[in-house]
Symmetry: C2
Subunit: 611 residues, 2 copies
């Protein structure tokens, strides 16, 4: 089905918006009047620019405050509309959006509204233009789609139809089933927008907080189903007013937008994509650093061994049970100077199919072979630049990324890494695998990253939460497989936070955090100090055995509990941008210790600034 | 009356918060539990730190989900509370906030709530602690202040009283008159917060959008009046959860907070300040630049003359009728490299009294004499660093800043500055004065700047509006005297906007903008180009004579109209951070041409980036 996007959904000049829409594969655009007014391009030039880019101008919008007004005012409105019809002919646009009136002059008289819209349509028809009449959620007298349709039906003019906007319909809680009663050929246009569920003034909600389908709380799949069953032939167009998108790069926003439409069409059965391939585990996490030694020291203290080296690149594989970490010291313009988490490998039942789906969802596919002799690897870039590899580790029928690594001689057993830790079934206190990967997102890409992790990686979103930092508020949302074998936590910091200090972390799972922490400390590792006040509060909040609390206080372990289970964790000091977390997750605990995160953020600020 | 502030209202570590509160003259603080938990300081150390700073710990907060629960759960809650009572003794805090329960375990049973709160108070009393019970607006069963008070009254324990929070009361639309029926000595604590009027979920509204009194839409003056008439002895404490304050400098936020409380006490008749002295005009605006020539060329083209030079500093006075501009080329660390607007002089009936009021409202007072021989000048710094001088220009009984200037020989009449322009009553097309000064604010100081302009400068706020820029959304709000003799428009840009490109501007009033624009262009001045599309739209929107629109299009003049009058304006190209606007304001037009601002912002981006 034809896809379109309103220029108001993208940042920049009109030219930049058109270029971004075309680049993301849209077939057309809605031209938002203010974008045209601010453009130095003449309408004919906009038309030819769009044509050159392969874009149709599917809608011009909006005409406001037209109908149900006194005759004299309607005469003026008609003259104003004719100005716009002439402009639309220059633009090559054949459909115009008319929003239900918010004017204090408008009267509550459907017959008058219908008569005046009929007259408007008759004039439009002379210009070859169709009128798409839409109920604004805050329209003065007309604010539901049923009402707008009743007026269109009463007007009975072939150049007059209705425009449906999912935001206006769902924000008011209207039942979208009634859409099926509207003849599909009288639905002249469909605007799609999602929004987080917020109990706030609907105009403010609409103007600032809309988002792309799948990024909010509306059921757009069901909504679109009703519209398609009504016989609406297209296009599907996104009209999203969003304060963040206004500031983001238009090209990225357009890709995010197109991805959301492809997902929506798939879920509504209107298009098929390569099937989702849910990952089954974390194959590895890759750390890049100019100097491996500081992180190597921490990994040794955590019980990891350097198991293998890449055949052609300065990359070491560190392993402990199922936790595999790559440490990459190759210099590259892309890499930052400080230690950072640059790639994640996900175990995939079918890496090639996972990559096909990712590509169909417009994820930037990374070159398949890194070097001629390397094993082929399917990988895509996440919105924040993290490379995501689809892996088949040590599966005989598939090439494995581990084939590129040459095993290293095992070191002599050392106190801090007893032989048992090298066993696939680690002794108490060993790390068994990666519990979760936590990635800080650029502030304007949080919704985009959320959609990416859900659609491209096939992960399920968890609840979004706020976390207070001494210098601002963080928002965090995790994505996981149903069985918890893969968990990726995304966070976005205060606007003022310095990107260079935004930390990433790797949480390592253990079945015995007390032993794990003791060993780490005994091996010279340093944990983030936790204030005594925290433990006094812990004693007040939970009826934990006092001995346990003393132990946690001594080591710097934090505790949380939900209805399903318990969570104990502690954090290493930060190296570059990265720190490690030791995690003991018991029972069905679903969270990430969020109540303790403010303590961590304060301690990390203190460690960084010595205050 | 004693003033206090909750630590959650300020950013930073607990130590930083205490220092900021003391620096702004607060008498005490509310310690928010999470701030204590994240602090490495022991409670005794916090106590002595506060004592050293002259701060009392007026409240510890909050205890949650205590009352109206099954007996076994209440036993656990009591143990939890006792932990906190012991902690409070270490802190030296004698009042604790208990919020009405939001727990699903809580039952709707006032008698049980009263009985359990009585028992809690009895235990608290043993520690010398008082319980202040507050109705959260979203409490499960108790969410109004009447209800909380009925329970406190029924409990009848001397160590149990109520806490009133203006947000919880006013956000639900409760009538605050009933407060007068509560005995003042049973109001154990008063928390004050304002908030912009928003129709949104009250919990989200409360957690993210509270602000200081006078910065939002609540009538706190009336509210406080009721509390004082009830006999409440104090303290007045600010509890403000605000996402922006979380990121701002604590010291500045604390001053903003204290200023808001002083204003509130004045308006409620609880304290007196030096009386406001409303300004009566703009005496001058000062531009700083390392190189005067580019701006001098524009000023000459606008019809200004260089009238005088400062006796001791490299400052020139440019004048045209009542518009006076200082161009300062003194290098100073404070000055930016690019041309910028650094000071505004306001005509004041009594500069000394204006300065006294500013000082009482904690505005940073600038050194009174700039050089030994200079005329004394009263000046304060606005939150954005702009210097505001209180002036008595050419009034015999007062020293005048103009006394420091030596008149320059008049230049020979030139085509671009005909002699008539040097007349106090300029000919058609001359500038008659400064219509308004527009200052871009750092994004986290918008509310603070608004309060400053209202309280310190005695200006009245106008409506706050959104303005779309191609790369983000601006918010703008103007402040003016009742007669429009002084107008200052503040704007805050998208978070991502680069501070260095944030423009400031001076709007110059003329009675004939067409002539003014023609003369400016004829004198070699350059106006910002306005797209043709704008004029086509103007013809559609307004029934202006076509000849007028052609003229506006030719010159680059924009048009707006409100119910009271008309506005015509055009903009010069930007030099450094500054541009000039020519403004013809007719009738009672109250705005600033906001509907045209997106066109300007787009054109300015285009001029800057060539796109």
């Amino acid at each position: 089905m034809r896809t379109s996007i309103a220029t108001v959904s993208l940042s920049g000049t009109l030219t930049e918006k058109l270029t971004a829409a075309a680049g993301a594969g849209f077939d057309g655009v809605e031209i938002f009047e203010n974008d045209l007014l601010a453009s130095p391009l003449a309408p004919e030039d906009i038309r030819s620019r769009a044509e050159d880019l392969g874009l149709g101008i599917d809608l011009y919008q909006p005409l406001r405050d037209i109908e149900a007004v006194p005759a004299e005012q309607f005469g003026r409105n008609l003259r104003r509309a004719e100005h716009k019809f002439r402009l639309m002919r220059q633009l090559g646009a054949d459909t115009v959006l008319v929003c239900s009136s918010v004017s204090p002059l408008a009267v509550d008289d459907d017959a008058l509204a219908a008569e005046q819209l009929h007259r408007l349509a008759a004039v439009a028809e002379q210009y070859g233009i169709r009128i798409a009449y839409e109920a604004l959620a805050w329209g003065r007298h007309v604010h539901t789609y049923h009402h707008a349709w009743r007026i269109v039906e009463a007007a009975g003019h072939p150049a007059l139809g209705t425009c449906l906007d999912s935001f206006h319909i769902l924000a008011r809680g209207s039942d979208p089933r009634g859409i099926e009663a509207i003849p599909g050929d009288k639905i002249f246009f469909l605007q799609l927008a999602d929004a987080p569920l917020m109990a706030m003034d609907v105009l403010q909600w609409s103007r600032h907080h809309r988002c792309f389908p799948g990024q909010g709380g509306f059921d757009l799949t069901t909504f679109l189903g009703h519209v398609l069953r009504a016989g609406y032939p297209g296009p599907l167009s996104l009209e999203v007013f969003n304060d963040v998108f206004r500031e983001a790069e238009a090209a990225e926003t357009a890709i995010d937008a197109q991805r959301s439409l492809r997902m929506l069409q798939e879920s509504a059965g209107a298009a098929s994509l390569p099937a989702p391939v849910a990952p089954t585990g974390v194959a590895f996490a890759e750390l890049a650093t100019p100097d491996a030694e500081p992180v190597a020291a921490v990994l040794r203290a955590l019980g990891f061994d350097r198991r293998a080296a890449h055949r052609t690149k300065p990359v070491s594989l560190w392993q402990q049970a199922d936790a595999r970490l790559l440490v990459n010291t190759a210099g590259s313009a892309r890499r930052e100077q400080a230690l950072s988490l640059t790639a994640v490998g996900l175990e995939s039942p079918s890496p090639a199919e996972a990559a096909q789906r990712a590509e169909a969802l417009l994820a930037p596919v990374l070159p398949r072979r890194r070097a001629p002799e390397d094993a082929p690897l399917d990988a895509v870039a996440a919105p924040d630049g993290t490379e995501v590899f689809f892996c088949a580790t040590d599966r005989p029928e598939q090439p494995s990324w581990t084939d590129d690594f040459t095993p290293q001689p095992r070191p002599e057993p050392q106190p801090q890494s007893p032989p048992s830790l090298q066993d696939p079934h680690p002794a108490a206190g060993g790390v068994r695998g990666i519990d979760h990967v936590a990635l800080t997102q650029p502030w304007h890409q949080f919704d985009e990253a959320a959609l990416f992790h859900r659609s491209v990686l096939g992960l399920d979103p968890q609840e979004s939460i706020d976390v207070a930092d001494p210098y601002g508020l963080w928002r965090s949302r995790a994505f996981r497989t149903a069985d918890g074998s893969v968990r990726i936590a995304l966070a976005v910091g205060p606007a003022s936070a310095d990107d260079s200090v935004r930390s990433q972390h790797l949480a390592l799972a253990t079945d015995d955090i007390v032993t794990a922490a003791r060993r780490f400390l005994a091996a010279g590792g340093r944990l983030l100090p936790v204030p005594d006040n925290y433990y006094d509060d812990l004693a007040a909040r939970f009826d934990l055995p006092p001995g346990d609390i003393d132990t946690y206080r001594e080591l710097g372990i934090l505790y949380d509990r939900d209805t399903d289970g318990e969570f104990r964790h502690c954090w290493t000091e930060t190296i570059g941008r990265v720190f490690f977390e030791l995690v003991q997750r018991d029972g069905g605990y679903r969270g990430y210790g969020a109540p303790n995160a403010p303590v961590r953020l304060a301690a990390q600020h203190a460690a960084r600034h010595g205050r």
